[in-house]
């Protein structure tokens, strides 16, 4: 098997850039001209270095080209056996908001904070803290009307009880997106991200 240095440095430099997501079209052209087994081996080397630098767990080797080629073989075999398989819709794979068993990637991020969020306790604050020393201004805080009463208001935490896990996940996703945007918009650094920890989380 050829070692790294037997290959043109340009193509390996391109591969290194591709590994980092920094490759351009020319790089990709160059890489695709190379032998796939060598490329895979090289990527494995890059990956192992990355693993050693970023993880406490043991580095792994040994997948090499076999995994890539077995996938390719399966795809080719399926293509031959049934051309119609090729039009599987993405929807079948990615029913994000439908079906409770489908859970999006971001959920992983929330799982750990779930513990923090579940250990909650009520904090009782006295009312009228706002402007307490400037009572003349209290009236300028207009009353908020709630036109349809409070029937439609439910704590998000109760969603779990309503057996709407997929919907709940969607809402949590949006809550998080919202917190991120708020962190960038309201000029308080990352402090609005503190809300994310308090958001109710399923599981």
């Amino acid at each position: 098997m050829a070692a790294l240095n037997d290959h043109a440095p340009e193509s390996l430099s391109s591969l290194s850039a591709m590994f980092d997501g920094e490759a351009n079209e020319q790089d990709i052209d160059r890489i695709l001209k190379e032998d796939s087994a060598h490329i895979t081996k090289q990527l494995e080397g890059f990956h192992v270095i990355q693993q050693a630098l970023t993880k406490e767990s043991k580095v792994t080797v040994g997948l090499q080209d076999s995994f890539v080629s077995s996938i390719r073989a399966k795809i080719d075999a399926e293509d031959l056996a049934n051309q119609n398989d090729a039009d599987i819709k993405a929807d079948n794979v990615l029913s994000f908001s439908e079906g409770a068993q489908h859970k999006p990637a971001w959920k992983v991020m929330f799982s750990s904070v779930a513990v923090a969020a579940s250990v909650t306790f009520v904090v009782i604050f006295g009312g009228n803290l706002f402007l307490s020393s400037e009572t003349s201004n209290v009236n300028t805080l207009a009353e908020v009307s709630t036109p349809e009463g409070d029937e439609s208001v439910a704590a998000l935490a109760e969603l779990n009880k309503e057996a709407l896990p997929a919907d709940s996940i969607r809402l949590q996703h949006y809550l998080r997106q919202h917190a991120e945007q708020a962190a960038m918009t309201v000029g308080q650094g990352m402090i609005p991200m503190a809300r994310v920890v308090s958001y109710p989380v399923e599981e």
Partner: protein, 340 residues
């Protein structure tokens, strides 16, 4: 930051105009009452200008100061203590937010990259940082803020986390937003406490520092995920700008879209962001299959509403999330429509 400069120029200009006006007023009237009234007015306006400068400085302080502090975030049913650290080293901005209760979850920011760090060593993913324009958002939209709130700097000072604090109140001009009270460090204008207040004067949400140091010994190593921790980028995808196909038939005073276009999220969802300079409302629209009536949920100060609506033969699910009263979410949902 040109906006900051522009704003400061405006404040200076405004102050000098007011000064000239009061001198002029003094010149043309000998009525003592009239003079007193002018002076009161001038003081009030001055207080508002000062408050605006302080708010602007507060925003800058988050990005410019070096700090290490512990704050408590609390709302009706929840309270969490968190540690926040920030420094700028070699032109790179580092920030860390750690949940001190429960699991030790940490959110790290290195310039525009946000990473979530977990205590267990099981897994880590790495990605190139998503280029998010944080710099662009480090300024208060002050002129916008004035449309929705009356802003005041209180005469009475107080102490928070052992530091002298100035108090700024944002009194909403209508029912569509909450009131805010900021306690800002008298020396460096760092935010020490922030209350979100409902219309009935009750506290909805509070962030309050219990201790903070502005000369911590921070190193770059303090802001990189520790070896063996599990890291995950918070941003799951690069946001793509798409044409905004939606509009609001009405918006509360001072509210406007933060981005000129919509953002495409995954699975065909478009996201819009509304802000009045203080409160933000995120709007999500996605194609839907089943009809759904309006429902509103809340968690802490955050309100979320959802409902479906139909445009021609296509059903859409509309979700709005924001730190605004229920009525605002409900009204915004009824005035949301396709752009003609």
């Amino acid at each position: 930051m040109t906006f900051t400069l522009w704003f400061r120029c405006c404040v200076v200009l405004l102050s000098s105009l007011l000064f000239s006006a009061s001198v002029f007023a003094d010149d043309i009237t000998t009525d003592r009452v009239a003079v007193t009234k002018k002076t009161v007015h001038e003081v009030a306006t001055h207080s508002s200008s000062q408050a605006l400068i302080l708010l602007e400085n507060m925003t800058q302080s988050f990005a410019a100061l070096k700090y290490d502090g512990v704050f408590v975030h609390s709302e009706a049913t929840n309270m969490n203590s968190m540690r926040v650290r920030h420094d700028v080293m070699n032109g790179v901005e580092y920030e860390s937010l750690i949940d001190l209760d429960g699991d030790k979850v940490e959110v790290l920011r290195i310039d525009d990259t946000i990473i979530c760090v977990y205590p267990d060593a099981s897994f880590a993913t790495h990605r190139a940082p998503v280029a998010l324009p944080f710099e662009r958002f480090k300024e208060f939209e002050l002129d916008q803020l004035l449309q929705g709130y009356e802003i005041k700097l209180s005469d009475s000072n107080t102490r928070i986390a052992g530091r002298d604090a100035l108090r700024i109140t944002l009194i909403p001009k209508d029912t569509y937003r909450y009131g805010h009270e900021f306690f800002i460090d008298a020396e460096n204008h760092f935010l020490l406490k922030h209350d979100v207040i409902k219309a009935d004067g009750k506290l909805l949400e509070r962030i309050q520092f219990t201790s903070v140091s502005f000369s911590p010994d921070l190193k770059r190593e303090d802001f990189v995920p520790k070896k063996g921790t599990y890291t995950e980028p918070v941003f799951e995808s690069e946001h793509r700008q798409i044409k905004n196909l939606w509009q609001f038939d009405w918006l509360p005073e001072g509210f406007s879209l933060v981005w000129p276009e919509a953002r495409a999220l995954n699975h065909g969802t478009s996201m819009l962001l509304l802000s009045d300079g203080m409160a933000t409302v995120s709007v999500f629209v996605e194609p839907a299959m089943k009809a759904k009536g309006m429902s509103v949920f809340y968690t802490g100060a955050t309100m979320a509403g959802e409902q479906t609506f139909k445009v021609k033969d296509q059903m859409y699910l509309l979700t709005m999330v924001g730190e605004v009263p229920q009525a605002t979410i409900e009204k915004l949902m009824t005035v949301f429509m396709p752009r003609h």
